[in-house]
């Protein structure tokens, strides 16, 4: 019997080659990620409850200031200062401070996350490390403190749901639509206690793959791993990590990308997904492009290609918060940023931004936001009276032009008509 990616990686990390779904394993972790929002409590638990004086390996810990970056209040500024001092006192090698971006893309950009690694992070979207074919899993304060103290954690080896893609996207349709299709198909608890494998997307960059890997937690998954085939040479795949066709899957679903239409997740649940065409006219106040799910260079470029030479609809705001400084730099270098700004968008500091409703664009009651992120829970981005629709960067850009949720094709067609008129 072959093994799933989860079985292969957990087997490798536990020193047992034969692990199967259902086994309990103790694993050595390759990297622990902690961010500003929870680091104070993790540090407290590590020292004061577990009684550990030092982290187990200062080279295998990454601290990222991304959740409120830069600080919005004196209290946050004090806590960030505390975290920086702790990093220096512990001699931790990897601190990514204000403006570097969201932990998940940053740690892959930095080469700290590689295929086959086992990574745990104090953030549920740590499944995002599956973009580089790592087993990434989100944990709470206490589990992360235990991992810092011991270099280990424990898992029940998960069953695996396999999601296959065939074909390629039509213009105006992209990987976000595939991810939302999967949420619609599997539902919010469809992969709880399981892992998700994504296959058939070799043509996507690792940043585009992160859309799928981060959305894996939205169907409940412990990890979401994109098949490592097609990854660039900067992400060498270990010989032991491979697609084994006789691996055992609890469920297999398949999506024909060539017939996929733009998908929209309607308030207030991520799996409340419809074809955009089924929506009536939904007027929008804010278009927000950002997050670890869809705030990457490719997402900004996709939006810019639609917004080029156009202006935002009257009374609509468009906020762009790049996922990382590397994405921001690339967008600044090739004119993508200039296109977005010329259209009327504004740019925030790379980081989590308003995704957690803390700063940089929180919503008022009754406001409607089209969001390229990953959660439309009530109150997620500010007022519990706001309405959040999740969509692709292409839909976000088309919506920014018209002021209501719009199929990118409608905007692209009117461009062609203008050209031929």
């Amino acid at each position: 019997m072959g093994q799933t990616f989860a079985e292969q990686i957990l087997g490798h990390a536990s020193g047992r080659s034969d692990v199967q779904a259902g086994d309990m394993v103790v694993v050595n972790v390759d990297l622990v990620m902690m961010h500003d929002s929870l680091s104070p409590s993790i540090i407290e638990t590590l020292h004061n409850e577990l009684g550990a004086e030092r982290v187990w390996d200062r080279d295998k810990v990454a601290v990222v200031i991304d959740h409120v970056a830069p600080a919005a209040t004196v209290r946050q500024a004090e806590q960030q200062q505390h975290v920086r001092r702790w990093v220096a006192q512990q001699g931790i090698s990897h601190l990514f401070d204000v403006g570097r971006g969201i932990s998940h893309p940053v740690l892959i950009e930095e080469g700290l996350v590689q295929p086959g690694m086992l990574v745990v992070g104090s953030d549920s979207h740590s499944t995002g490390y599956g973009a580089a074919a790592a087993f990434g899993s989100g944990m709470g304060t206490t589990d992360i403190a235990l991992a810092l103290a011991t270099g280990q954690t424990w898992f029940r080896v998960p069953e695996t749901v396999r999601v296959n893609a065939v074909g390629n996207f039509q213009p105006g349709v992209s990987v976000k639509d595939f991810g939302l299709w999967a949420a619609r198909t599997l539902r919010a608890d469809g992969a709880t206690y399981q892992s998700v494998e994504w296959h058939g997307v070799d043509f996507l960059s690792w940043r585009e793959r992160m859309t799928l890997a981060t959305l894996s937690i939205e169907v409940g998954a412990k990890a979401g791993i994109v098949a490592p085939t097609g990854l660039g040479s900067e992400h060498p795949v270990p010989a032991w990590l491979r697609v084994e066709h006789d691996a055992n899957y609890s469920r297999v679903v398949e999506c024909d990308l060539s017939t996929l239409e733009p998908q929209v997740s309607v308030p207030h649940y991520v799996d409340n997904v419809v074809d955009l065409a089924e929506l009536g006219r939904v007027a929008v106040d804010v278009v927000y492009l950002g997050t670890c799910t869809n705030g990457h260079y490719e997402d900004m470029a996709a939006a810019a290609s639609i917004l080029k030479g156009r202006r935002l609809a009257p009374n609509l705001r468009m906020i762009v918060v790049p996922a990382s400084s590397e994405s921001l730099h690339r967008a600044a270098s090739d004119g993508t940023l200039a296109t977005l700004i010329a259209a009327g968008a504004t740019i925030g500091t790379p980081g989590c931004g308003a995704c957690i409703g803390r700063h940089m664009g929180v919503l008022a009651p009754h406001e409607v936001c089209v969001f390229t992120g990953n959660r439309n829970f009530r109150g997620r981005m500010g007022s519990p009276g706001a309405n959040i629709y999740l969509a692709s960067p292409e839909v976000a850009a088309a919506t920014a032009i018209t002021g209501y949720i719009t199929h990118p094709r409608n905007v692209l067609q009117s461009t062609e008509q203008a050209v031929f008129a």
């Binding site: 549920s124 709470g140 608890d189 997620r380």
Partner: protein, 165 residues
């Protein structure tokens, strides 16, 4: 007597404690306990008593990994949570904090506001004379509960639950 608090399906951790009320956002002496279900169910935090039970639909605790969500429930004194399916990060965080979670669907057998007897060791709820037997948890879960959470468990045993090493 413990009071029953009934919640719906897919209760996410943003509903338990919105990110805007995280300890990171609060004053140094503020207690996250005050913000349990502050928007989703504002009558909860002011009225919940030690030992009260949360009964919910499937996928309880989905979403963010924030441990301050179950921590707020623990500080409120919640005696146990009973739902047909728990989101895995929440389940793990609750175990780590020593909050008993039972996987069972008993929404048809209790109503919000019911006052019941609850025997944790036996997994038995008595509601107005009728008994509800909860399925027994894994032995290693009971071991963690008995220690009061994963930190005292690890300090005593030097290993993780359900594992030999």
């Amino acid at each position: 007597m413990p009071r029953i608090w009934v919640f719906g399906n897919d209760v996410n951790t943003d509903q338990m404690v919105p990110g805007r009320y995280a300890p990171y956002m609060l004053g140094a002496n503020d207690d996250v306990r005050r913000y349990a279900f502050i928007e989703a169910r504002p009558d909860f935090a002011p009225n919940v008593q030690t030992g009260d039970l949360i009964i919910a639909g499937p996928n309880f605790g989905c979403g963010s990994s924030r441990e301050y969500a179950p921590l707020a429930l623990k500080r409120c004194g919640v005696g146990a949570i009973i739902a047909p399916l728990f989101a895995r990060i929440f389940f793990r965080n609750a175990l780590n904090l020593g909050i008993p979670c039972f996987t069972a669907d008993i929404r048809e057998q209790v109503a919000d506001g019911d006052l019941v007897d609850f025997d944790l060791a036996a997994g038995l709820i008595t509601n107005n004379g009728s008994q509800i037997q909860l399925p027994p948890p894994e032995g290693w879960m009971r071991e963690v509960w008995a220690e009061g959470g994963i930190v005292p468990f690890y300090r005593r045993h030097g290993r993780f639950p359900a594992t030999g090493a």
